[in-house]
């Protein structure tokens, strides 16, 4: 085992906002000043531009270090915007890091997109050569694998037709075929597997695992946990530009999924609340009837909504009304619910506790809903004590609400109504027979 890729303290900083708003004159003025060691007359007054808290810059990748051994298949996982694509761009030399360095042993081929450099006027054959050479192969290497590439792509009959007459599916297949036959010791792959029809995707995954087992080193960037689990032997997790975990692929996926589900919504620091504030809701949770925390729920599930409160005890509220307003993500009201509406009153409030609202058989189609709450001193005309709009998101997924298991889309209606159907043999209504219809 030897290290073939060594990433040392790599960082990448991007400038936010308008880039290049400056004109040549100002640019020269600044450079001239810096060159003479004088302060830049055009520098922002906030001070050091490299400051970590600087609002004009974003560290897309920050102090990332890791080693990759020969033969490793490393999965890089993270949310959108976690910096994994930027890291990939640095490793494949599309952009230079702001600081740090990368040491590489062997030829690197990066596959950030399929079909890079296809020229529409040229034939499939010419494009295989051109594309292969762009990806770092020599002419001879492409020639040696040409038949195999064409066979893999399944476009043999059209190989001498200009690519502009290909369907988009054919282009993608040809492009992936070229990429799959790259002869590089280190292969960097972005989520390009999501191309083509299901059968071709299967073929691609098969080819990928073949490459992976062939002793080559692969860096695979994805947020498809299943693909990482199957293909990779190791995994690293990125979050906000930093490498937060490194281990086997299974551990990395476990870490990633644990970190994605922030289950308890803490509301203590929300500054958009209103009301007099004697009783305050400080956190909200979604649980199933057995008490387990949930991140999302299925249509038809029984759910418990926990609203943790703090009571400063300065006043008593014998007719306290805790109201929930559920809206779609566009703000259209879906339903409202409150304890007094349901016939339950909370007379004596402890200093800490939780209001729990059970919703049986959640009658909502799949979508992300928003929950707002209002705590009033009475059901009607009450004084507002505490309220936050959009306090919690409620992601609902398809579930078994109806006996058929089907759940209509939200476009068909914002709520699910249970019903029973039957058929009867009955005479026509009077109005119809009177009008002469037989």
């Amino acid at each position: 085992m030897s290290t073939v890729l060594k990433v040392e303290n790599v960082s990448k900083r991007y400038q936010l906002g308008e880039i290049n708003r400056r004109m040549l004159y100002e640019e020269l003025q600044s450079r001239w000043a810096r060159w003479r060691g004088k302060p830049d007359p055009n520098a922002p007054v906030t001070g050091d531009a490299l400051d970590a808290n600087d609002k004009d810059h974003l560290w897309a990748v920050r102090n990332v270090s890791f080693d990759v051994q020969h033969g490793d298949v490393l999965g890089v996982i993270g949310h959108n915007g976690s910096g994994k694509s930027t890291l990939l761009k640095i490793l494949s030399q599309i952009t230079a890091p702001t600081s740090g360095r990368v040491l590489i042993k062997g030829k690197v081929a990066s596959l950030l997109e399929v079909g890079t450099g296809f020229h529409l006027e040229l034939t499939g054959r010419d494009n295989v050569f051109l594309n292969g050479t762009f990806l770092g192969m020599t002419h001879r290497e492409v020639a040696r694998q040409f038949d195999e590439i064409v066979a893999f792509s399944g476009v043999e009959d059209f190989i001498d037709t200009p690519v502009k007459r290909y369907s988009s599916g054919m282009r993608v297949r040809l492009a992936f075929a070229v990429a799959a036959h790259l002869e590089a010791q280190i292969l960097i792959i972005d989520e390009v597997l999501a191309v083509g029809d299901a059968a071709f995707q299967q073929k691609c995954i098969g080819k990928m695992s073949e490459v992976a087992q062939g002793g080559r080193t692969v860096l695979f960037v994805s947020h498809n946990a299943a693909a990482v689990e199957n293909l990779c032997t190791r995994g690293v997790v990125m979050n906000k530009g930093e490498l937060v975990f490194s281990g086997t692929q299974t551990e990395a996926i476990a870490y990633y999924s644990a970190s994605t589900a922030i289950k308890t919504k803490c509301l203590r620091d929300r500054d958009d609340r209103s009301g007099s504030g004697e009783v305050r809701i400080v956190a909200m949770e979604l649980r199933d009837p057995s008490g387990r925390l949930r991140h999302n729920v299925n249509a038809g599930d029984d759910i418990d909504l926990w609203l943790y409160f703090e009571n400063n005890g300065k006043r008593a509220f014998p007719r306290l009304n805790v109201k929930l307003n559920v809206t779609t993500h566009l703000g259209a009201p879906v339903f409202t619910q409150s304890n007094l509406l349901a016939g339950e009153s909370f007379r004596e409030l402890p200093s800490k506790g939780a209001f729990v609202c059970r919703i049986p058989r959640l009658p909502l189609p799949a979508a992300v809903y928003r929950i707002s709450y209002i705590v009033n001193s009475e059901y009607r005309r009450g004084e507002k004590i505490d309220a936050i709009s959009n306090a919690l998101e409620l992601p609902v997924e398809n579930g078994k609400f109806f006996p058929s298991g089907e759940v209509p889309a939200i476009q068909a209606g914002v709520c699910l109504v249970p019903a029973e159907w039957r058929m009867e043999s009955a005479p026509m209504p009077v109005q119809l027979t009177a009008a002469g219809v037989p």
Binding site: Y14, E27, A96, L103, L122, F134
Partner: protein, 289 residues
């Protein structure tokens, strides 16, 4: 966050090292040599793609210089009555036009390197200099065709006693071609580096090359330029190239050796500056393009 000075270490076991900083003269010619197959294919692609779905096909290499020279002959020679002492007018214009069209095509195409290849550069790495180099080669091949046409026109004219006096100075031809290539490449690289930051540079380049033609002795011989302004023309490195070319083939002109040497040195400086600017810009251009 300045990079800390690091102790010198042996990096020879690594085949490539990606760093935040890169030396000024680190042009990575070895990498470019490794990508020679790509250059070859790009040149080929340019030729095959430009000949597809056209009526005249490869004849397009010859049509523009012939007609441009004809138009200049009529407009400047006949109508404006610019005289070309001691030479056949069509050879005079044709020589100017092929040299100039090499330079302007090379400059304009190289200057848009980053803009036209944005998609490609954002997705795959190969030595970026491959692009301007392939432009240079494509244009040189183009020039070779046009030069051959020039020779076809020239030889019979000379043989049948037209006023053309080729002389020993033809030996500088390879130097002229090298210098012309270096100049077009270097100026193109400078322009391409600037266009990534300032979009109006793209307009300035196209417009500027059009105007510059009139001060490059393409349509008027240097002899006809009043002596007071001649030094200004000499500062334009294309002037000595075009004038020397004519002097070698047609035997007329007022160009002197020191002027050619000066323009050669200027071309070399432009080449190196172009390389430096290009390699510096290419490292981060994809962040802003």
């Amino acid at each position: 966050m300045k990079p800390k000075p690091e102790p010198v270490e042996d990096l020879s076991e690594w085949s490539s090292v990606i760093t935040a900083q890169q030396g000024w003269f680190d042009f990575r010619f070895k990498e470019i040599w490794g990508a020679r197959d790509l250059i070859k294919l790009l040149v080929l692609r340019d030729f095959t793609a430009s000949c597809k779905q056209t009526i005249l096909g490869p004849f397009w290499f010859f049509v523009p210089p012939i007609f441009t020279a004809l138009v200049y002959m009529i407009a400047f020679g006949r109508i404006a009555k610019v005289t070309t002492p001691g030479t056949a007018q069509y050879l005079f214009y044709f020589a100017g036009v092929i040299l100039w069209s090499y330079f302007s095509a090379s400059l304009v195409r190289t200057s848009s390197t980053f803009n036209t290849n944005k998609e490609l550069f954002g997705k795959v790495y190969f030595p970026r200099l491959v692009m301007p180099i392939s432009v240079l080669i494509t244009n040189l091949i183009n020039f070779a065709f046009q030069f051959a046409l020039f020779a076809i026109l020239f030889v019979p004219a000379w043989y049948f006693g037209a006023p053309a006096h080729p002389n020993w100075r033809i030996v500088v031809l390879p130097v002229l071609i090298f210098q012309m290539a270096a100049l077009g490449f270097g100026a193109g690289c400078i322009a391409s580096a600037l266009t990534t930051r300032y979009r109006d540079m793209a307009l300035a380049v196209t417009f500027g090359t059009q105007l510059m033609m009139f001060v490059s002795c393409v349509v008027t011989p240097l002899e006809k330029v009043p002596p007071d302004y001649r030094w200004l023309f000499i500062l334009n490195p294309m002037v000595p190239i075009i004038e020397s070319f004519r002097y070698a083939f047609l035997g007329t002109g007022v160009i002197q050796l020191w002027q050619l040497v000066l323009s050669f040195c200027m071309s070399m400086v432009i080449l190196v500056v172009g390389l430096i600017m290009f390699t510096r810009v290419q490292r981060t251009v994809m962040d802003t393009a």
